[in-house]
Amino acid sequence: MKKLLHLLHEDARLTNAQLAVMLNTSEEAVANAIAEYEEAGIIRGYKAIVNWEKVDSSPNKVTALIELKVTPKRETGFDTIAHRIMEFEEVESVYLMSGGFDLAVMVHGSSMQEIAMFVAKRLSTLETVLSTSTHFVLSRYKEGDVVLNSEIPDDRREYGE
């Protein structure tokens, strides 16, 4: 049923009936498989991809990528600090990275000021955080495999037979 995961990843709003037809199985089998995936923690959630830039008075208009250098703990490595950081509700994602810094943290907020204050007052003051480097997102072209804000049509074919 790996195909099921691919289909849901492409469009989580396909109905069980549609999925069953496409996968040549029963609705019940689809429902069971989805329940199992949820149970096993393989499917972690379903969300809409929102183009917040088009939403007036959205609370999440500004996003920043923050590069963090931290001192890993002797026993737990980077886990302790990563867990601490992901508890902040401003934080959208946390990744441990290879290369020139350790953690990449995506943060959203209503203004650049708000994010700047968050970094200055809450993130950089955490124990073991050595330095931060904040990059504001200027424009989103594509997110979660979906093209945002684009005049380019999804399908560029014009002349098929």
């Binding site: 195909k3 289909l7 492409e10 469009d11 396909l14 549609q18 037809v21 496409m22 996968l23 040549n24 999804d154 399908d155 074919r157 014009e158 002349y159 098929g160 037979e161």
Partner: protein, 388 residues
């Protein structure tokens, strides 16, 4: 100046392909969802594109031999052998053409003398009749029927045979119906072919796109048919390479010689960048075919199921990427249906009669589109049917 006095009478009389008319209208409209295009929505697999790019970087921009690069012809023969167990000689039995279409044209022009009859099952792709007419042959249409799953039957074939019959076109898997011929159906046809000493142009461009347990059977596989078959295939549908324009024909040496001669004068050689890319596709493209086929298959199931439930009954197509639902219940002609659907719901599909008069009462719907696109179109079509 009146140019009509200069034009060849046949070409002046032959109309443009009816497929294009609807997407010409559609392209002028906004927010149109089209299920009318007959080409893969996938791009050519990256490793294949890369091979094309690499040869450009190396400056390999010259002609190839008339028949195509030897290496490509060898790979084509290996591929046919591997898939269908039919062996051709790369030096003498293959020509690489500008798409399958050129191969069809070469074959018809090299076989047909004025007055020879070409047996053409319809509904089918739009080129066979005009090409026959340009070759001064006589097209003899054989209607296939929904109740036969749009297969060609031996009986229907027999009814159209005359002493002038020379060439049978076998366009399966079929555009626009999605019909396939299984081994037992091909064997029936082979019997008639043998009886009446016919040649067969087997257009198997959709051969790799069949669904279900049983894979495509090549007509040349059937006992005694290799010597009577000009097998036509290409890279457009199999490897999503439509824009590269590359196809081929394989068959008896004497016929392929004649076709190569015509190709030599008309085309010289097929695009070489495409030929290099095609070698890569044949060698390492099996997985690409498989994953595209899986996608098509899921869409096919969804679209067939939805059509059957919203009142556009269609038999289950087992090949290509088209469904051919009946719209007879609506009381509209195919053209009216397509026009109304386009103007009221901005969905473009192709009227069945673009593929022959017996396609009347049906429409061709392509599912070589993303799921999102297909679902939106299906919603609009359901709304349209309810509004009638």
């Amino acid at each position: 100046m009146d140019y009509s006095q200069f034009l060849n009478h046949e070409i002046a009389r032959i109309p443009y392909s009816g497929i294009r008319r609807f997407f010409d209208i559609a392209s002028e409209m906004k927010e149109v969802i089209s299920l009318s295009i007959g080409e893969p929505d996938f791009s050519t697999p990256w490793h294949v594109r890369q091979e094309g790019i690499r040869t450009l970087e190396q400056g390999k921009t010259w002609y190839s031999p008339n028949r195509g690069f030897t290496e490509l012809r060898e790979e084509i023969c290996k591929w046919i052998e591997r898939k269908y167990g039919v062996s051709y000689h790369p030096e003498t039995d293959v020509v690489v053409t500008v798409g399958g279409s050129e191969a069809i044209d070469l074959c018809i022009r090299c076989l047909i003398n004025p007055g020879d009859e070409v047996l053409i099952p319809e509904p089918s792709f739009v080129c066979y009749v005009p090409m026959t007419e340009m070759a001064k042959g006589t097209p003899v249409v054989i209607e296939t029927k929904a109740e036969d799953q749009f297969r060609l039957t031996a009986q229907a074939l027999r009814e159209k045979i005359t002493p002038k019959s020379k060439l049978l076109i076998l366009p399966f898997p079929n555009n626009p119906t999605g019909a396939v011929m299984r081994r037992e159906h091909l064997e029936e046809i082979a019997e008639v072919v043998r009886e009446h000493n016919l040649l067969v142009l087997s257009d198997e461009i959709y051969g790799e796109l069949t669904y279900g347990d049983r894979s495509h059977v090549c007509f040349a596989e059937i006992d005694g048919m290799k010597e009577r078959t000009i097998l036509i295939n290409g890279f457009s549908k199999t490897y999503a390479m439509t824009g590269w324009r590359l196809g081929y024909a394989a068959g008896p040496t004497e016929i392929l010689d004649a076709m190569t001669k015509l190709h030599q004068y008309a085309i010289m050689s097929s695009p070489t960048m495409a030929q290099y890319a095609a070698i890569e596709a044949l060698r390492n493209g099996d997985q690409d075919i498989e994953s595209m086929r899986e996608q098509y298959d899921m869409r096919r199931r969804l679209i067939v199921d939805t059509f059957n439930s919203i009142g556009m009954p269609c038999f289950e197509p087992e090949g290509a990427f088209y469904v051919f639902p009946s719209i007879q219940k609506t009381g509209l002609t195919s053209e009216e249906f397509c026009e109304k659907l386009l103007y009221s719901e901005h969905v473009a599909v192709v009227p069945g009669n673009a593929f022959g008069a017996c396609g009347e009462g049906f429409v061709r719907v392509s599912y070589s589109y993303s799921l999102k696109h297909i679902n939106e179109a299906l919603k609009r079509m359901e709304r349209f049917l309810k509004s009638l």
